[in-house]
Subunit: 351 residues, 2 copies
Amino acid sequence: MSSRIVFRMLGGRSMAEFTKVALDAMGGDNAPVEIVKGAVDAVNKRKDIRVALVGKEEIIKKELQQYTYDKEQIEIVNADEVIETAEPPVNAIRKKKNSSIVVAMGMVKRGEADAFVSAGSSGAVLVGGQVLIGRIKGVERPPLAPLLPTKKGFSLLIDCGANVDARPSHLVQFAKMGSIYMEHVMGIKNPKVAIVNIGAEEEKGNALVKETFPLLKECKDINFTGSIEARNIPYGDADVIVCEAFAGNIILKLFEGVGGVLMEKIKEGLMQDLRTKIGALLIKPALKKTMKGFDASEYGGAPLLGLNGLVVKTHGSSKAKEVCNSIIQCVTFKEQRINEKIKECIQKEEE
Amino acid sequence: MSSRIVFRMLGGRSMAEFTKVALDAMGGDNAPVEIVKGAVDAVNKRKDIRVALVGKEEIIKKELQQYTYDKEQIEIVNADEVIETAEPPVNAIRKKKNSSIVVAMGMVKRGEADAFVSAGSSGAVLVGGQVLIGRIKGVERPPLAPLLPTKKGFSLLIDCGANVDARPSHLVQFAKMGSIYMEHVMGIKNPKVAIVNIGAEEEKGNALVKETFPLLKECKDINFTGSIEARNIPYGDADVIVCEAFAGNIILKLFEGVGGVLMEKIKEGLMQDLRTKIGALLIKPALKKTMKGFDASEYGGAPLLGLNGLVVKTHGSSKAKEVCNSIIQCVTFKEQRINEKIKECIQKEEE
């Protein structure tokens, strides 16, 4: 079914007028309940969104019954199989042809959907993106780029994917793609790009960083500001944080871990006796509001950049809010023609 | 001046009865005030400690005047030069022969002191340790191993030094040395050793981790428990966290950064209005107590392991408490014959 046929079925509006998202209804810890709710929230917020809920039709239909929404905006696409988080991704993608991930990615590949959003197996989403949807010509490696909460707002951490042991040319492309995403999707003018390093000086770093640094310095398409030490990442000193995936994974997960333990420690302190319990009641609403700015789910999922279509990976523990925000994020991505901009920028360098 | 002469000067007690620490009186943001205070606190707590305050004699003498302590326990060793944090370390060590760091390390080298403690330039301490004091025979690379606060207590992060791009054999030695330190200095029986990775499965990781994993699995001297994801480090899931220095530096500094920003965010929330300010007053003492367990300075500095003598690097911002704790840490290190244990363990593998 081509996108042209889809748009006719949806009432004759042209594709340009709406963004179509294929949503993995079976992926993540809270599927299908929170995923379906997120889809409904998104279409109820925005008339320019269409969602295809991909997964077991009967289950999705039953979930959907409780909601009120414009029937034109949500369709169900049946997919009988589910890829589990623990499955080896390459095998799963190859064998489970009728899984929600493979079926939904097929829709993006054929142009029947603009984007794919999933809270399911990270491995399968990363492998599927490359194998089923494919890279933009010239892109060497598609990076996974989550937003990190910072003191000032948020920064894009690029790459946190599954492909470790990157080369300098990969990191330069990450810097360019991340810069385009932050400027045109997140609205940060002339975003500051920095490379993760163990000191501020140019001569510091491991072999990869030392080789990459001068290449980034020469790069005219980005606003490169030099090295960033891990200590300064949470302060928001750069908008685009470039690193290879092993380091990126450490940064992303340690962020969550340290935050989690600190919050537990604080709660422990607050529940100590009557005095602290009263104090806790007084500060709770204000504290909740301040901490909200430090909640990554506010910003939606992490894009897998450089593919022929958009793939967004949300947390495995995503609730409706993150799913909804991730769907809405796809609209800006399409409207701002991010992939065309990436294509131009990457292919220019090859000439 | 040999240690034999020193012990005679100190009243005829044998070296085995006390631990002598050469302390860099000029290093760190709070030198010499907090360093001198830390030395006095240490000798007033423990009769089995001798401290040589190394630095500008006149300044140290003036600082010392305000304190009461056993004059036998503290001596001043003059060193006119100071190595600044920004100086290129190799050059500084070579040229500033009369700096506090070079003079104090000379004392360890010649056996006039058991240990060297400094809050000064990390680079100079790391370079000086290798060049001036030298490695234990068979140790390929001396790792810097700070303690990280965790939910359960603390873990040793090994390596956070300046030598990046490590080889698998280095990481195996780090695991062994870290294990000995945690068991015999920190008192953790049969410490759990894990390697930092991007997933729990054995087949995950970058080239270095994949090569190191089977070597650690085979290693009979340690209690290897497999991979640890960064998210689980703050929860204290392992006692010895093995990684190469680039990753270690990211972990250490991000810990500080995320903690710092979260505490700022919380304070911001608490200072919002009258209601929250009253709440803050009620919870403050309890919160302070709970957060104390998350304060790395409680545990003293980071040892640079595998040298012919002990070198301990404390934070640049160290106050008297951390200096004092670092000095006391040296006693256990000596008493437990850590270097002999490292020597045995490393040299056994070579046979």
